[in-house]
Symmetry: C2
Subunit: 346 residues, 2 copies
């Protein structure tokens, strides 16, 4: 198996701290080159591995390079569309960072390009799509009767030391919904990977912190395409509070309580029974060991996929479009006094 030669474009904090180690530790990839708009940063990045990476002068050079099999794009998301266009132009496989784009019009173009160019591999790096919890919960759901509703909750204190906060593209966001499309798409990826797509929503958003650059908290009421109803609460901009994440799925013959709060670890309780007075009740707690919170798993799956093992990668542009479309709908709904907004399709 020849390694997949990778060029990293965009050599910021996440490329340095997460992608580069994941790719260099993977048996599937060999990082060969990099590009950054500020070339000095690319050159510094290039020295982090041995032998040092090739550094391009121009973004397009990465796509032209015949040595490269895959572009790993970590650009401010408003440039994702340009990168995808270049990938198609030069017939190069590409993975882009979440959210898929800054706005739905860009995201639609990416989906359209992906549909029209099936020979190019285009995917979105959304590692929450690859959580073990997704598979576990989808299995567990089969045991709780008719699913009636859900509560998805993820809240935390504002983190003044968040190193990502100081990046220009976050401070002056061009992407819709600021924190909602930045951090929120993770949550929405988990929610929809488990329960399916959302049909419409109502939302109220607010901005608690000037540092957020845009809205940073949302309360939403959702109706899924399946008819299931529920609430989605997200915000990490509050004052002192316990960081808390739970995803509760309620059926007429049982329920699932998945707790992904840091304090609780990754575990869920599956309770069955209750459809009738006589139905047998069971309760099982399951710990999810070594949950895939890092990006390593997503690159593992990417390596398998690009080596012909189809089905490992699920976060293709149409899927990531939905996550951004939910944020877009939240912002629109809130601007219209929480009116019911249908989720756009690409």
């Amino acid at each position: 198996m020849a390694p997949i030669n990778v060029a990293i474009i965009g050599t910021g904090i996440f490329a340095t701290n997460a992608h580069l180690p994941a790719l260099t530790n993977s048996p599937y990839f060999a990082v060969k080159a990099c590009y950054n708009r500020t070339k000095a940063k690319a050159e510094e990045f290039a020295q982090k591995v041995s032998p040092p990476l090739k550094v391009y002068d121009e973004l397009e050079d990465a796509f032209k390079d015949p040595e490269i099999d895959l572009i790993d794009a970590l650009l401010p998301v408003q440039f994702n569309l340009d990168a995808v266009k270049l990938a198609v132009k030069y017939k190069k496989n590409i993975v882009i960072e979440k959210p898929i784009a800054a706005h739905l019009d860009q995201a639609k173009q990416i989906v359209q390009i992906a549909r029209e160019n099936p020979e190019i591999f285009i995917a979105v790096n959304e590692h929450w799509c690859y959580l073990k919890a997704v598979i576990e919960l989808r299995e567990a759901i089969k045991k709780i009767g008719k699913v009636v509703g859900f509560n998805y909750h993820s809240t935390g204190s504002f983190n003044f030391n968040n190193k990502y906060l100081s990046t220009t593209w976050r401070q002056k966001p061009e992407h819709v919904g600021g924190f909602l499309s930045d951090g929120g798409v993770h949550q929405l990826a988990l929610l929809t990977s488990v329960l399916g797509n959302v049909q419409s929503l109502n939302a109220r958003t607010t901005q608690v912190r000037p540092q957020s650059g845009d809205v940073d908290v949302v309360w939403a009421l959702m109706k899924l395409e399946s008819g299931v109803i529920g609430s989605f609460n997200y915000g990490s901009a509050f004052g002192n509070k316990e960081k808390k994440g739970f995803f509760e799925i309620l059926g007429d013959n049982g329920s699932i309580y998945y707790d992904f709060s840091p304090k609780s670890g990754d575990r869920f309780i599956l309770r069955t029974g209750g459809l009738t007075a006589e139905s047998e009740k069971t309760e099982v707690e399951k710990k999810i060991e070594n949950e895939n919170w890092s990006v390593a798993t997503e690159f593992e799956k990417l390596g398998l996929e690009l080596n012909g093992n189809k089905g490992n990668i699920t976060c293709f542009p149409e899927v990531a479009f939905h996550h951004l479309a939910l944020v877009d709908a939240m912002v629109k709904s809130s601007a219209q006094d929480a009116a019911t907004v249908s989720i756009e399709k690409p």
Copy 2:
């Protein structure tokens, strides 16, 4: 201090199990008489104390009786308006059961009658208005900076053994929203007693159990008159799940997590700080001892109020109207695909 002589009208399960013991154990009251549409039931009820109670032939007799100071009405709520009209006609003080009425038009009339007859004491027996938590949380809120939002959550399994389920007025509800105005108004009383009135909401309701007679689950998105936003989830019709109640209030300089789940007891955690990177963080857990979950406290407060200690009773018709108006808005919003519905004023 002469005891307040009470006639109980409506001698069903709750009168027998809750009101009669609370009234007879109170230093303020003497239960003297009763009425029930099925006279045999009133006669049976009359024998539960010694000396046995006087039994009226007609409802109106209770209001005419010069020995009686206060009518304690536990009628199916669609008859509350008629009882209030009789109270005014005969200048008799009255407390009616929650919800205030079956429908908003009836509730509006009760509010109007109360406004026009301030010399008659008319109140609604909503004991959640008198929880210690209400006072504790209102104090705690002062310490968390600007209140940003809230999550109110109360869910449980369907209880097939609920003795109240088999009552005709619940099986074939004339009151709006079925379980939502029956059990839900308790939750709404707590929510609004702490955070103030709701301006508008969006809701999706569903009915999980045929036994409920009407809708039994709601997810709602709320905007309060104060501008605070949040979610309200309520339903006790699910399959096997842990009975869970929490009320989280989020500010920019702290948060409150009040847990009223049976398993956790009645306690809340007040966390302060977080407005800036430098603001001092504190965390205090407070157990609420002997919370006023029974109706005894509400009769204690009623006794004080009727003995001239004003301010003990807060659940007057205008307040209880708001609780029912919220349920009415939930049902309307859900019927209109979760459209934003403003809360009616009496």
